[in-house]
Amino acid sequence: MMDDHVELELVPYLSGELDAAARTRVAAHLAGCVGCRRLADDAREVLGRLAATLPAPPEIHWGRFRADLARRLEAPAPRSWRARPVPLLAGAALAALLVVIAVRGLGHRGAGGDPLALEDPGIGARLGLFESFRVVERLELLELLENLDVIRDLDRLPQGEG
């Protein structure tokens, strides 16, 4: 049966980097295990084919490479966030504030997005005001003022009517 340890050693074995003792042990195992031998043969074929057909990278102009590198070397290095903590922290705080506002706004929308639902909490909070008669009295005064305006405008009605 296949031994996991030997299985993992096949590539180092095939590339010749195992020490003498490990090499002997793997070789002995391969001699007695058909499955491992087949896997080793396949691995040898795969690695051999890859090595034989390695695509060469397209040529580039090394003078241009060095010139570009020199130009980039002269440019100021990008500053890490540690070098500019204040603007980043301010930005993070602003982002957090916007998130809080957005979440609170969504939370106040109420079920179904009913616009009247937005008003309910406000009206409920002010119900105590309506218990004060003087407030209502003043509202009536406002109505009286409106009536006075109407009476004043009676003079401007077209003549001959009624």
């Binding site: 074929e45 090595a51 580039i60």
Partner: protein, 196 residues
């Protein structure tokens, strides 16, 4: 004052220490020694010339800016591999996220074929049609591996790095690298018509 001849004989690690002291000549020399390697690895992982060039340049910029952090525990080349691979994996991760966002529909399958994006072979295409088709399938399967499996495989097959060094580059254990390599090979052998 150190002469150019002395610098040219310096090891990569010694040059890196000079770069930490802002020695421009040492940096030039390091770049000239490793630019092809950085670009090759970046292109192998990204399969895009402009992206690979940009990634390789970015890697050298990081070398210049963080040379003081290189302790010399590993070889300079291993450190450079780690920077390049990390940059490439980050870039692929971002690109994948962006593609999912703006283009969720599958595109032209041929556009994802790495062999479609490399220079044509020297021999006549019809002469190698069957072989090319098999290789195309194999490399397409490589493209479908997880980023870590693919990086481990390319570092092993293309760069010839031993497991221990791949583990340093990928910042994982040797056992994890062996698992990556084993799973990669197991996935690829199905393209040869073998059962996993």
């Amino acid at each position: 004052v150190v002469s150019d001849r002395t610098i040219a004989e310096d090891s990569d690690e010694a040059l890196c220490r000079r770069v930490a002291a802002r020695d421009e000549r040492a940096f030039d020399l390091l770049v000239s020694r490793h630019q092809a390697r950085a670009y090759r690895v970046a292109w192998s992982l990204l399969r895009d010339v402009e992206e690979a060039r940009d990634c390789a340049q970015e890697a050298f910029l990081r070398v210049y800016r963080t040379a003081g952090a290189f302790r010399g525990d590993a070889r300079f080349s291993t450190w450079l591999y780690r920077i390049v691979v990390n940059l490439c994996l980050d870039r692929r991760r971002r690109a994948r996220w962006w593609r999912r966002l703006v283009a969720p529909a599958a595109g032209d399958p041929a556009a994802d074929d790495p062999l479609e994006r490399v220079a044509a072979p020297g021999r006549a295409p019809d002469e190698l049609a069957g072989e090319a088709q098999a290789m195309s399938r194999l490399w397409r399967a490589v493209e479908r591996l997880s980023p870590q499996q693919r990086a481990a495989l390319l570092l092993q097959v293309q760069e010839g790095l031993p497991t221990r060094e791949i583990a340093t580059v990928l910042e994982c254990s040797e056992a994890t690298v062996r698992v990556h390599l084993h799973r990669a090979v197991t996935a690829l052998r199905t393209t040869l018509g073998r059962q996993a």
